[in-house]
């Protein structure tokens, strides 16, 4: 069985690399992008989960989520942010896959696994 593919978008290379390391340690395949535009240019072929930073130049996490959902409405999307005040904003409420930095890496891995199994069932 193939390992599921997780697409990761973050403009901070340190955070991006650490997320890749985390998900690879949990036996996922990863594809990392420095911006939402880079992801869209590459395409969503084979992507089963999307993890994206919110505050980025160009398309932010919310816009990216809306765009990919148009192509794949069921795609699990996780948004993460370092700015706490954004987490309190109205449009961030009611989203399951929403995480504040710093977060527990194990919790993220567990959440991704759950989303994948929910989708398969």
């Amino acid at each position: 069985m193939n390992k599921p593919l997780v697409a990761i978008v973050d403009d901070d290379p340190t955070v991006l690399a650490s997320l890749v390391e985390l998900l690879e340690s949990a036996e996922f395949r990863t594809r990392s992008f420095h911006s939402g535009e880079a992801l869209l240019a590459y395409g969503l072929e084979g992507v089963e989960v999307l993890i994206s930073d919110i505050g980025m130049p160009g398309a932010d996490g919310f816009e990216l989520r809306d765009l990919v959902r148009q192509a794949d409405p069921q795609l699990p999307v996780f948004l993460i942010t370092g700015r706490h005040e954004i987490a309190d904003q109205d449009r961030a409420r009611g989203i399951d896959g929403f995480l504040r930095k710093p977060f527990d890496g194990h919790a993220l891995v567990a959440a991704v696994r759950k989303a994948l199994s929910d989708r398969q069932s």
């Binding site: 340190t14 690399a17 650490s18 997320l19 390391e21 370092g82 930095k101 527990d104 890496g105």
Partner: protein, 638 residues
């Protein structure tokens, strides 16, 4: 020839006898001798001429005949004397009244027994009018006077001594539409029917008073016009007295002054409008003489001050001085007087803001402006002033500066919140990497079999991320270390005074007395005056906040003095003191509900970046002292 005649008893010559015969028929006659000298003239005709025979024979005759007719008459007479022809000439002859009348003068010679001319006799006959008596002459003159009176463009009337109307001239009737009958009451008194009903009683009273006292009458009233309107009229009447001083008539003349009155009314109305304008302008207006003596105050100003012009008189001062002493705030009085004196002396406009005592004893801020009014020669004739109550404006301005202060404080708070959010974000990025790597490291180690290589690699990245978090903290600290090019060598005293001025309004509002004392000439090594001022403001405001709830005297002392190579600046309050003197400089430590707990932490960073120190001490008997030091520029110190 007998040349005697005139008053003497003449010998009755044939000429005289003939003349007397003619006299019986025509009423007058004359006789002369052979060469033309009068020897008889009818006495009744001679008397009114106030002439005698002698005077007629000298030059009198010439005076009686109209000058234009004299030469012809005299020429004809000389010819007749020469030739003996009958004399018959028409000429104008002066009468007793002084008026010339046309007469035909005719005469013929008498002859002696030898047939020679012995004398002449003749008569003169009025040919232009029936013979006039004195009464007729008077009537003529009266008629002429009447014509004169009727053609004068004035309304003329007369009454008897008792006021009974006797006459109105033609213009009077034409203009007023009233005849003599119309202005005569049934009891023969003056009806004053042409006087406007509203003015009639006053006019009658005045007229009767004049009639009774014999003093001239003058009255203005509206007088009826033939077209039904009324015109303002001024009527004057004077009495005519006889030789005994008794009044025989009153003569009056009425002049139409409607245009004059209309002009006066318009002028008065215009004056009233101006007055109303001045009185209703929402400003306090006054006028003064060139020496400054107040001579007018608008109603609003009178009501505002509760003072009339004269009320400050009689205090042994000039009115200006008395007024100023009474209404100007004692603290402003010297300046107001100085400026007034300057303007009065130079003619320059006056402008000053000061406090003015209102009628209720409350002093309010006003702005007073006055300028000189000049006449055609450029001399000052009056000072006109306006005074605007700007108390509300002043209050609004204080309100505004308070709002600005609040805004500044809240924007400071906002920027601190922004700063802390940025700090959180900056720190969170490497921190989340640290946590991701630690989770990954754990997974690589707990995997079966453990992936030591990847675990070590993740651990290495983890350390890198932790270091970058430390870098962030260093960068933040560096933010407070301003570059040295912003620093200058300002005098410390100036910076302290500016900080005090910034907070003066707030201190007044919070009833806090600020005392600033310090050595002069304290020269610091170049420093960032904005940052040091921020520290001072921060410490001073903390001190005020500390005294917010105390009931004792609220005093904030700021002192600056030299201590070795440093200057020591103390901010002392008399509040409740500091409970945690060690913690107050830690970031995010606060004892205030609305505080961020960053003020003292940042202040300490600033002072330390300037090579000084900031700490807290206990004030005795109560309160706290916040002390900071800054290095002196010893080289530049005296």
């Amino acid at each position: 020839m007998d040349r005697r005649g005139g008053s003497q008893e003449p010998p009755l010559t044939k000429a005289v006898e003939s003349a007397k015969l003619v006299e019986r028929i025509t009423g007058n006659a004359w006789a002369t001798d052979a060469i033309g000298n009068f020897i008889y003239v009818t006495p009744a005709a001679l008397a009114p001429l106030k002439a005698s025979l002698e005077s007629l024979n000298s030059s009198g005759w010439r005076r009686i005949i109209h000058p234009e007719d004299y030469d012809a008459a005299a020429g004809a007479w000389r010819r007749c004397l020469k030739t003996g022809e009958h004399y018959s000439v028409e000429h104008r002859m002066r009468r007793a009244t002084g008026v010339y009348g046309q007469v035909r003068s005719s005469g013929q010679p008498t002859y002696d027994v030898d047939g020679a001319i012995a004398g002449w006799y003749g008569t003169f006959i009025d040919i232009d009018a029936p013979p006039r008596t004195l009464e007729v002459e008077l009537r003529e003159r009266e008629r002429q006077l009447q014509q004169l009176i009727d053609s004068v463009p004035a309304l003329i009337w007369s009454t008897m001594a008792d006021g009974t109307p006797t006459y109105v001239n033609k213009p009077f009737t034409e203009v007023t539409g009233a005849t003599l009958e119309d202005i005569t009451a049934p009891d023969r008194s003056a009806s004053l029917g042409v006087v406007h009903p509203e003015d009639r009683a006053a006019a009658r009273e005045a007229f009767l008073r004049s009639v009774a006292s014999g003093t001239p009458y003058i009255q203005r009233y509206r007088q009826h016009r033939a077209d039904g309107n009324y015109h303002w009229t001024e009527t004057r009447a004077h009495p005519l007295r006889d030789e005994a001083g008794l009044i025989v008539q009153w003569y009056g003349v009425s002049s139409d002054i409607d245009d004059l009155i209309a002009t006066q009314d318009a002028l008065r109305e215009s004056e009233q409008q101006l007055q109303q304008l001045v009185e209703t302008l929402p400003a306090l207006i006054y006028c003064a003489l060139p020496d400054g003596k107040p001579i007018y105050r608008s109603k609003r100003l009178r009501e505002y001050l509760g003072l009339n012009l004269e009320e400050t008189d009689g205090l042994g001062k000039t009115r200006l001085e008395g007024t100023l002493d009474a209404v100007i705030h004692p603290d402003d009085l010297v300046e107001v007087k100085r400026r007034y004196a300057h303007s009065l002396a130079t003619g320059e406009p006056y402008l000053l803001r000061h406090r003015l005592r209102r009628f209720d004893g409350v002093y309010r801020w006003v702005e007073t402006r006055a300028s000189a009014m000049h006449n055609g020669d450029g001399e000052i004739v009056q000072w006109n002033g306006i005074c605007l109550d700007i108390e509300d404006q002043v209050n609004a301005r204080e309100e505004l500066s308070r709002a600005q202060e609040n805004l500044t404080r809240s924007s400071q708070a906002a920027s601190l919140a922004e700063l802390s959010a940025s700090i959180a974000h900056e720190v969170n990025q490497p921190l989340s990497a640290v946590m991701n790597y630690s989770s990954a490291c754990q997974r690589w180690l707990t995997a079966g079999p453990p992936n030591i290589e990847r675990a070590l690699k993740a651990l290495d990245r983890l350390v890198q991320s932790a270091n970058s978090a430390a870098d962030v903290v260093s960068r933040i600290r560096a933010l407070f270390k301003q570059s040295t090019d912003k620093r200058d060598s300002a005098e410390l005293g100036t910076v302290v005074r500016q900080a005090r001025d910034l907070l003066a309004e707030e201190a007044g509002r919070r009833r806090i007395t600020m005392n600033v004392e310090g050595e002069s000439g304290l020269r610091l090594v170049p420093f960032d005056r904005v940052q040091i001022q921020q520290v001072l403001v921060n410490l001073m405001r903390n001190g005020m906040d500390a005294m917010a709830s105390v009931s004792s005297e609220r005093v904030l002392d700021i002192r600056a003095f030299r201590a070795g190579d440093m200057v020591r600046i103390e901010v002392k309050d008399r509040g409740r003191g500091i409970q945690f003197p060690d913690k107050i400089f830690e970031p995010f430590f606060t004892t205030k509900d609305d505080g961020m707990g960053m003020g003292l932490a940042i202040s300490r960073s600033i002072i330390e970046s300037h090579g000084g120190q900031l700490w807290a001490e206990k004030n005795e008997p109560l309160g706290a002292i916040l002390v900071f030091t800054l290095p002196l520029d010893v080289a530049k110190m005296p």
